[in-house]
Amino acid sequence: MKAKFRFMVAACVLGLLMTGPFALTAVLLLADAKDAERAAFAEFLIPRLPLGGLMTLLGFIGGLILLRSLFQQYVHGLLRMAETLRLMLGANRNFRVAPEGPPEVRELARAANDLAQQRDELLNDVEEQIRSAKATVEEEKNRLAALMSELAMGVIVCNLDGRILLYNSRARLQFKALSQGPTSMSGGALIGLGRSIFSILERGQITHSLENIQQRLRKGSAEPTANFITSTRGGQLLRAQMAPVLGSAERAENLGNPPGPLSEKGGDEVSSQAAPAQGVSATTMVGAELHVTGYVLTIENITRNFEREAERDQALQALTDGNRAALGNIRAAVETLLDSPEMETDTRERFTRVIADEAAAMSSKLEATMSRFADSLKTRWPLEDVLGIDILAAAARRIEDRLQLPIKHEDQDTELWMRVDSFALIQAITFLASRLQDHYAIRELRLRLSAEGRMVFVDLIWSGTTISSETLYTWELEPMTVGVETSPLTLRDVIDRHGGEIWYQRDKAVHSAFFRIVLPAAVTPEAPATDQAQHLHSDSRPEYYDFDLFATRDAAGSGIDPERRLTDLAYSVFDTETTGLQPSAGDEIIQLGAVRIVNNRLLRQEIFDQLVDPVIPLKPEGIPIHGITEAMVNGQPKLDAVLPAFHEFCAETVLVAHNAAFDMRFFQLKEDSLGVRFTQPVLDTLLLSAVLHPNQESHRLESIAERLGINVIGRHTALGDAYVTGEVFLKMIPLLADMGIVTLRQALDASQQTWFARVKY
């Protein structure tokens, strides 16, 4: 009930109280009296009525004044105070209630002020802490940035889903240098925040390395890192070192469920590899203090070093082993000669000729080796030291997982370290198991690990069925395949790579047979866990690990769910320049520019900027608009090369363009012939502008930019327009949120409903 209304009611009640009893008494007396009495009463009363009325009125007015003043002081005073308090709550923290009015109200005001004071002190304290924390984070960020940019190695930080959270310029340059194709995508091959590392590096390798790291962590290893060598699509050789980023124990608990298997998020590229990915997720659950939240990859392009090293190695090999036979022949001949003075002359001559021939052969071999030194030959792969039982455990898991073949461990020396390429070796063991299962239907495989001197023996033992050694010779030379997975290597390659051997042997006494793989033992076993290991999960870890890179894990997730918030999605904002305005009448794209938005930021480093040869002549009237001449497009790649590259650039992002229907029409006309399809959702800033400001006349990009206070520079180049569109889009997101348009689906639906959506090209 409004205060004013209540005041009216109170006034009425006062009026009634003052007149009611008198009037009632008068009525009762009149009803009781006889006629004469009534007449006398009226005669007596009526002349005196004005006086009584006046007195009553005066009393009523006095009562009203009193009532009003009480209302002013208590009701209005409290209402005013409530408003002031609201003001203090929101707009102006420093405002205070003026203590006025009656003592009770003043007391209340004072209490409210005290409360406000206390709140202010708390808030100031919190703000101060936030400020200092922010400053620390900023300082750490700067330190990290400086460190990263100084590094000669590429550094990439990923979360467990393989999303890139951080990379340095060297990494970008390295992958840019590796990117193939005719386009000058300046973002590097496909390196970008929120992008998947698996488009650059093989998923199997990463998963395998993560598993290795987990195992080392569980053992408290001082160096829970993994190294691997991988080759890119372009045939370059990269050496990568992976180091885990560990979450704190509380964080692990807060996260509750560790990240789901990659298969849930990673889209179509995942399906064939889902199994090892699940393995990784499972291992992250072991022990809260070991919770790995992501990893740092340091990457070095070693193609050139490597070729050189391999050549040198080959030369050495040729000079030593290659000459053994010849030297052996010479030595045998010479010694025979010396020991046989009785030898006949012509025999002696034959021996001498052997010596001469072999010496000549050695000389020419030496020459050949030296000249071959420059040729690049088969590469030898760097190996890493691994605990033997770790390899066997990993192999066992893989075999049981892929082949459903039970594995038993027997007589395994737990202390043995070997020097291996663990990924290839596990592939080899799995391959042998799969062959045995397919061809000899073995029901169980036992793995044994022993050593002799500097050699480690890995035995794959089975009972019953025997095979012929020829079978193994054949298997050695086949490419290793397990199910649908094929390795380019043969078993022999893997064995050779390790400088190892493999053979088939039978143990008749116990009716079993085995393959024995001999590998070099690691010379320097890793030191047992020391307090060095602690630094990784204690307070003293390096400071540049500290800041929270991993908060973006969901924001950068893959797969475009329309229910996700606009602020959480990754976008590719693009624009085209074309020969004309009618795609269906043969106009063509001559320039394609795009920029990425990730985490609400326009990433000016991650761009796509490419001129396109339209094949048809440019129209003279278009040249003043886009400023692109025949000379500029001549020799540029054609759309059939550019569009697939652009398609890859846009993978897993929402497309954004101004008047997107126009650009998309150009793409659609090419989809069938080029075999690329842009299936992701498209947002149009023109339609969104119509949603936001339906009463504005112009929804041209310039007008919108002006409305939203954005400086327009470099218009009418595809990339320049893409920048402007991107900034416009970023400004629109909060405005849309004010209208209740928060998710991608809401934005798409609202766009559909504007009449602009009906324009078709």
Binding site: R324, N329, I330, E335, Y473
Partner: protein, 121 residues
Amino acid sequence: MSYRILIVDDEPNIVISLEYLMKKEGFQVAVATDGEAALQQALSFLPDLILLDIMMPKKSGFEVCQALRADPALAAVKIIMLTAKGRETEVAKGLALGADAYITKPFSTKDLVLQIKSLLG
């Protein structure tokens, strides 16, 4: 009765020395120049000891060795692998496949003779 030695090697330049050496020691000698010939000779010549090279055409020394050891009739034959492959893992393989000794080229003729004599007892 003198011992019979089978020399298996595809390089005439080593065969000449080995043959001369063995004859000088009073052994009966036969020569095979590839893996398959070696297996045939082993059955017909019935050697007491085989000097076996690894890198040969048709069948490698490893394969010959394994085949010889698979035949119970030839169980008593001593096998010395004589090869230019000097890696430890290959030595291990040779011995695992049933060779009695593994000698890497270049070798001393004296040592070879001593080794043969000790094997033949």
